[in-house]
Amino acid sequence: MSFREFWRDIYKNLYTIRVFEKNCIRLYRQGLIVGYFHPYLGEEAIAVGACAALRSDDYIVSTHRGHGHCIARGGDIRKMLAEVLAKEAGYCYGLGGSMHIADVATGNIGANGIVGGGIPLGIGAGLSISIRGTEQAVVIFFSDGASNNGVFAESLNLAAIWNLPVIFMLENNHYAVSTPIEEASRTEDLYKRAEGYGVFATAIDGNDVKVVYEKTKEALEVCRSGRGPFLVEAKTYRQGGHHVNDPGKYMPREKLDYYMSKDPVQTGRKYLINEGGFSEDEVKRFETEIENEIKEAVEFAKNSPELSEEKYFNEIVI
């Protein structure tokens, strides 16, 4: 793959996530999306960088803040929009919504409404790989809050003793809802928790897609050669509150500004131009293409029917 194609794909995902989330926030405010909705705005580089390093037969495990992971892994935007709009055409017939999108076809084991709940599932994917003896790998996405749940530590240990090909991708966005990581941990450097379990670990700039991509690539090599697991702590910050309805007033202005200045989509855009050889005009056209694609998907989802009660009770529920 040429640099041009590489950066094109990267930027496509970054920008798609950005526009997808913005559209959904609008739909949410219009009352067309209900329930919980946790935007991935500001963290796009992590999902995109990590997934770019994966093979098509690898697995990922996502979170309650999962749209970015799904898109970066090649998820179908129409199915995603239909799902969050509670329509039959959605990934889950509209039965799951934002927090429960899984895409078995792309190896996305799924989002999760239980913080930390997905981590052991990723260990299981690693275990099947190890039993089958293939060279697949797993990336488990989770955030700082989840790292305080016991299953994180247990899972680190299981992955370590079984040498599983698992990357723990810790999206340290410094908050669990409104609780800052400084109040939930004595150290902000969460990767250090891995070392006590004999797991390789490092911290990186989670807003730079190139850094994320390269570190994931490296960690994957360790994993595929049977020396895994690996923990990567990607430092980042949300560009807003915890969910759509949270104004995030507790987030200090300076810190927000700092991370805004390191916006992952803008950074990716620069790479697209400087390393991918795109002209400003080309980028603009590309962006419009993506916007249109999402606009169409939104229309598709809006106009889709809901699952009928009959079908639900007679065919879906066993």
Binding site: V34, G35, Y36, A86, C92, Y93, G94, L95, G96, G97, M99, H100, N112, G113, I114, V115, G116, G145, A146, N148, N149, G150, A176, V177, S178, T179, E183, A184, S185, Y250, E306, L307, E309, Y312, F313, V317
Partner: protein, 339 residues
């Protein structure tokens, strides 16, 4: 300490369920230094449903504690604090997350008194909320009271009104045994009369929410308002329904239930939880055992469908009992003719 129930009819201040809960905690924290509150976002944020709002300002960080996402251990810490002389109120954001604290509640808290020959006590209250509503989907909408109901050593409280919420929470905090206090997400904003003066509701004392003579509905939590409105509709058709709210599932006010059923000779139990293995089944089994001769028809159960709760709002609604389902069950029961 004598806990006595008194309803002051003179005062008719109207406040929300969540405000009533907040008042109960405020009063008990003022009254007793050993009462403290712990959970995710209970301090700075005042709780996801605002039940603990204002507590941090009033009582400070030592007694109003924000926790990391470590449900098993901070609940265990609550149990340990209770054993060592405190009266913790632990908040678990959703009853769906109590799956993470079952060891601490079931193997530790519920059995501690027993395992210390009565010398150790665990005066902890675990506040949580359950039920479906507003598209929160399968992992944030469950009704799991049946699990706690099945465990000897636990008390289970499920208030349906602001008045009950306050009086029961105050009693739960003063109780010397572990209490699972289960709120409902759709009730927090519901309003009701709550006197300003202090009162308690004894755990184990149910209430007749509507007097009637033709049939008894037994129900709790968010199914009470629904049962009451079904009763009003049925009244228009000349069917006089008695609605009973046990308020606490453990201890269960069996006498109130039996007296009513023996009077009306017909019973319908309404629960939001899944039918299979729910508390309704247990109450039905008790009624048919104790009032077999008095029943004109089988005890009917209106309950949640056998499915995780769907995100789609129409299907969510279809998965749990609606007014029409209750009305249907009442009519079917009253029309039952022995073979």
């Amino acid at each position: 300490m004598t806990i006595s129930e008194k309803k002051e009819n003179s005062e008719n201040r109207v406040i929300m369920y969540r405000e009533a809960l907040n008042e109960a905690i405020m009063e008990e924290m003022k009254n007793d230094d050993t009462v403290f509150v712990m959970g995710e976002g209970v301090a700075e944020r005042g709780g996801s449903y605002k039940v603990t709002a204002g507590l941090l300002d009033e009582f400070g960080k030592k007694r109003v504690i924000d926790t990391p996402i470590s449900e098993a251990s901070f609940t265990g810490a609550g149990v340990g604090a209770a054993i060592t002389g405190m009266r913790p109120i632990v908040e678990i954001l959703f009853i769906d997350f109590t799956v993470l604290i079952m060891d601490q509640i079931v193997n530790q808290a519920a059995k501690y008194k027993f395992m210390t020959g009565g010398k150790g006590r665990v005066p902890i209250v675990v506040r949580t909320q359950g039920g479906s509503g507003n598209g929160l989907a399968a992992q944030h909408s469950q009704s799991l009271e049946a699990w706690f109901y099945h465990i000897p050593g636990l008390k289970v409280v499920m208030p349906s009104t602001p008045y009950d919420a306050k009086g029961l929470l105050k009693s739960a905090i003063r109780d010397d045994d572990p209490v699972m206090f289960i709120e409902h997400k759709l009730l927090y904003m519901k309003k009701g009369e709550v006197p300003e003066s202090e009162y308690f509701i004894e755990l184990g004392r149910g209430e007749i929410k509507r007097k009637g003579k033709d049939i008894t509905i037994i129900s709790w939590s968010n199914m009470i308002p629904r049962s009451l409105s079904a009763a009003e509709r049925l009244a228009e058709e000349g069917i006089d329904v008695e609605v009973i709210d046990p308020r606490t599932l453990v201890p269960l006010d069996r006498k109130l239930i039996m007296d009513s059923v023996k009077k009306t000779r017909n019973a319908v139990i309404v629960q939001e939880a899944v039918r299979r293995g729910g508390v309704a089944s247990d109450i039905a089994s008790i009624i048919q055992e104790e009032a077999f001769e008095s029943l004109d028809a089988p005890v009917a159960i209106v309950a949640g469908k056998n499915t995780p709760i769907p995100f789609n709002l129409r299907l969510e609604k279809a998965s749990i009992p609606q007014e029409k389902d209750i009305i249907l069950a009442v009519k079917k029961t009253l029309n039952f003719k022995i073979g």
